[in-house]
Amino acid sequence: MSATAPVISAKNVWKLFGASPEAYLKSMPAGRSFDEIRTDGYIAGVKDVSIEVDRGEMLVIMGLSGSGKSTLVRCFSRLHDITGGTIEVDGQNIMSLSERDLIELRRNKMGMVFQSFGLLPHRTVLDNVAFPLEMRGQDRHDRRERALEVIKLVGLEGREEYFPRELSGGQQQRVGIARSLAIEPDIWFLDEPFSALDPLIRREMQDEFLRLQEMLGKTIVFITHDFDEALRLADRIAIMRNGAVEQCDTPDQIVMNPSTEYVAKFTEDIDKARVVHAKGLAKPVNGHALEGAPINGGATIHELARVLVNDNRILLPVADDKGVVTGVLERDTALNVLLGAE
């Protein structure tokens, strides 16, 4: 992308579960499939994954249960030790870290939110949120102040003295989010944070999450099994199946150009007009004659529906948010997307 190095860089990462995975991986012939590995008595949690996460980017890892998405994120945070390949966080190979350094890394750079919240039942909201600060030895006064700050940020003011079981699911997850943010992490892992919540609350929490992200601009790895959620939140989506990444791309690309049949199945029922942006559909200018006012590249085709239908130009100039023209959009193509015709 740019000169800044990726925050997380995974190369050929393998995570095998079984009796002696390292030895097996070494002796395994290349190109063995998930099922073949399984008949050998091993489960490929993560199968030869190479992926990068850029600073400030939100990567959503999408997959059904058992696809290896949770395993992959646990490899990033070294909750699992990987079997093969390398993972670098800020240029540092995390497999080479000592226990001490790993603890330091987690205490200062990483935050994680869990599907079933993972709150400590015997601690109040305040003490749960302050927990990571307490672990790194911050003094009582400091950590209380910081904890109150994040509690306010997630909108739980006035509940500081409650115990987790006295809160609703949505509120508990807010505690989980607050806890993961307490140490001001650079990298934020969210493992299906909203899956255990009711649909209405889930929607509300997604909005809340987008608001937080806009404010904080963290590097995020977000896991979900919900394709709509992925489309809604992601800068890029990685779709996983049987431990391997099927496709990793922007939502627009995934919807418009699914690279495998498996990915295509997910995109089938999606209203593409609501996902695809004008800039995603645009082609390079390449000497086309442009006339008239440009349209906003950041808007979805659905949002541009009225313009597309009423305008009679064949080619529409597309501009980025600074008003600079970056490409052209064929009106017909856009109308096809809008009408659901291929």
Binding site: R74, S77, L79, I103, E104, R106, R107, N108, M110, G111, M112, F114, Q115, S116, F117, G118, L119, L120, P121, H122, R123, T124, F131, P132, E134, M135, R136, E160, E161, Y162, F163, R165, E166, G176, R179, S180, I183, F189
Partner: protein, 660 residues
């Protein structure tokens, strides 16, 4: 003979592949019995000849004395006994019963203790438990048993926390290190089936007579469940909570201290409850090595047939048991509740302050009114003699007397003695083969092999006849308990109200120290075999009833509804839907009944039996550590045989039914 042969055809009719092995085992057993009946069986096949029995007890004695004297273990244990342990026991004894030792403060007035018990009860479980706590201690003081009750309590308050700490530490170690757990598991299952008397003698030898030995034996007995609950709780901590801890940057120690142990709180507290209850049950039994307290008094009163006083002491013990049990269980389920911000300090600690206030208040009051400090000899309300008269006159009523005497005669002459003589007549190898066949039939190959090994060891221990008598008592009592308990459970399970109240009664009865069950048995039947069987019977019937109700009521409603909609009668529903599904749970109850019976049969030696328990009790008077150990191990091995067979059956069955 005839029944045996029909048994044979029945088992071989079963459509299982193991029928051939079973046939072979039983055929050999049958042939041996037949040979003995005809009189052609050589004596060495009937009983193992004296000469072939290895001198296990002597060898063990030599080993023990080597460890004790040559390795100097006795100095270590004696140091612990006379040093820290005795110090703790003396301190608690001074505070509770006024023994003249450091810190020379006691005894604490009974009224102050009762008041604190009430506040603690209120804190964990509201007014009901407050009343129970206060009531128990008021009763104990009023009935004139304060001092002996406090002698018992002073050991418990030392033994229970120590057992808790040791159990917690060992439990954590077992959870942390797989090899340690694998090593510990078999030891724990032996420890849990070893009769209590086997703990007593080594305790006396290594830790000197008196409260220290009692405390050591009690602690040892109470540790295993604490270990098991700790490991269980730690293993059950949700993986996300663990990961949350790791992602918060916890070090190993922080993980354990701030994440694992608090998250396993429930299981650990259940362990605490079990520790307390076992301590109470065991401290009462230390009466057999002459420890003063409620147990000793009860033993003396029963020995001299003073039923009224025994009855009163029994009530005290039961009340103490129920109070300790209810309070510790209430603590298990009690969840923290938050205070609003800016709640003043005194309000946050309101309950502790009230307890402290009442404690000091009653101590001061008792200076003014001595009756609040101690209920004197002439002031107490004991009605021992009067109750004695009532009980005796009740038992003397013609109808009652007729019934109990007939029962006694019937059971003794028609059931128990013939059964015992039959068992004793079976040649040793045949007996072992039958037991192996049973274990194999019920539990499969592994339990069968263990049965063979275990019973062969018993045969070579030199105490075969006594072991058979022990087994006979257990089998008869459990059989009778099954005949009574299962129908009772089935009837109770029909209505929700009934099952609830009977379950409550069973749960309460299970908290009573086993000793208590001897009281009604002696009252009704006097001192003989029937009383032994009867006391075991009621003790063993409790888990049977309990698990029958639990098993039947946990059958999923959609299954009984399906049966109803298929037009089955109540009987059909019970026989073909509820029973098959409840059977694994009921088997757990059956297993527990057998374990309880093995436990009780040894205690019942007090009434006068001719089994292992009697011999064990005799060893307590001397120093025959080896013999004591062999006897205890015999009981343990027999109990383990049944435990393994039934547990393995339960597991297979559950798997096949797709339960848990």
């Amino acid at each position: 003979m005839v029944t045996l042969s029909t048994d044979l055809t029945e088992t071989s009719d079963k459509p299982w592949g193991r029928s051939r092995v079973l046939t072979a085992l039983l055929a050999v057993a049958f042939a041996l019995i037949l040979a003995k009946a005809v009189g052609i069986l050589p004596e060495w096949l009937n009983r193992i000849p004296e000469a072939a029995i290895p001198p296990t007890a002597q060898v063990l004695d030599a080993i023990f004395s080597f460890i004790q004297n040559d390795l100097g273990l006795i100095y270590v244990t004696r140091f612990i006994a006379e040093g820290p342990l005795e110090f703790l026991l003396d301190t608690s004894a001074n505070l509770l019963e006024g023994k003249r030792r450091w810190p020379y403060l006691g005894p604490i007035p009974w009224s102050a203790i009762a008041a604190v018990a009430a506040v603690v009860g209120y804190a964990v479980g509201g007014w009901k438990l407050a009343a129970l706590g206060a009531g128990t201690f008021i009763w104990t003081a009023a009935i004139g048993q304060w001092k002996i009750a406090m002698q018992t309590m002073s050991v418990i308050v030392v033994a229970a926390p120590l057992a808790f700490l040791l159990g917690l530490a060992l439990g954590i170690a077992a959870w942390k290190y797989g090899w340690f757990e694998r090593m510990l598991k078999p030891i724990l299952s032996i420890l849990q089936t070893l009769p209590f008397f086997t703990y007593l003698l080594p305790a006396v030898i290594f830790f000197k007579v008196g409260p220290t030995a009692g405390a050591v034996a009690t602690i040892t007995f109470a540790i295993p469940p604490m270990i098991l609950m700790t490991t269980l709780g730690l293993k059950k901590v949700s993986p996300e909570v663990i990961e949350a801890g790791q992602m918060s940057g916890c070090t190993r120690w922080q993980m354990l201290r701030h994440v694992y142990i608090p998250a396993a709180r429930t299981e650990i507290l259940v362990g605490v409850n079990q520790v307390i209850m076992l301590c109470l049950a065991m401290v009462v039994l230390t009466a057999f090595i002459g420890m003063p307290g409620l147990g000793a008094k009860l033993l003396a009163m029963m020995g001299s047939f003073k039923l009224g006083r025994s009855f009163e002491i029994g009530i005290t013990i039961v009340l103490l048991a129920v109070t300790l049990d209810r309070m510790s269980k209430a603590w298990v389920v009690k969840q923290p509740v938050h205070f609003e911000r800016n709640t003043p300090w005194w309000k946050r600690h309101q309950i502790s302050l009230v307890a402290l206030g009442l404690f000091i208040g009653f101590i001061l009051l008792s200076q003014l009114f001595p009756i609040l400090a101690e209920v004197g000899r002439k002031q107490h309300l004991s009605q021992g003699k009067e109750i004695d008269v009532v009980i005796k006159s009740f038992l003397a009523i013609e109808a009652i007397k007729g019934t109990t005497e007939w029962l006694r005669w019937f059971l003794n002459v028609k059931v128990l003695i013939p059964f015992r003589d039959t068992l004793l007549a079976i040649p040793t190898p045949a007996f072992i083969l039958i037991v192996v066949a049973f274990a194999y039939w019920v539990g499969g190959r592994r339990p069968g092999i263990y049965a063979a090994v275990f019973f062969t060891i018993v045969a070579f221990s030199g105490w075969w006849d006594r072991s058979v008598i022990t087994l006979y008592t257990v089998i008869s009592a459990v059989a009778l308990a099954t005949l009574i308990g299962i129908p009772l459970g089935v009837i109770a399970a029909r209505s929700e109200r009934w099952s609830k109240s009977i379950l409550l009664a069973c749960d309460t009865a299970q908290t009573f120290p086993s000793f208590i069950y001897l009281i009604p048995a002696i009252m009704l039947f006097g001192v003989n075999d029937v009383a032994v069987v009867f006391s075991i019977l009621i003790f063993a019937a409790v888990p049977l009833i309990r698990y029958t109700i639990i098993g039947l009521s946990s059958v999923p409603p959609e299954m009984t509804e399906a049966a109803d909609m298929s037009g089955s009668t109540r009987r059909q529903k019970l026989m073909s839907v509820q029973f098959p599904l409840a059977l694994p749970t009921m088997a757990v109850g059956f297993n527990q009944a057998i374990m309880f019976a093995f436990f009780m049969v040894i205690i019942a030696a007090f009434i006068g039996t001719q089994d292992l328990g009697q011999e064990l009790q005799r060893t307590l008077a001397g120093t025959e550590l080896g013999k004591n150990f062999v006897l205890g191990l015999n009981v343990s091995l027999m109990a383990l045989t049944f435990d393994m067979a039934i547990s393995s059956w339960t597991e297979q069955r559950k798997k096949r039914l797709g339960l848990d």
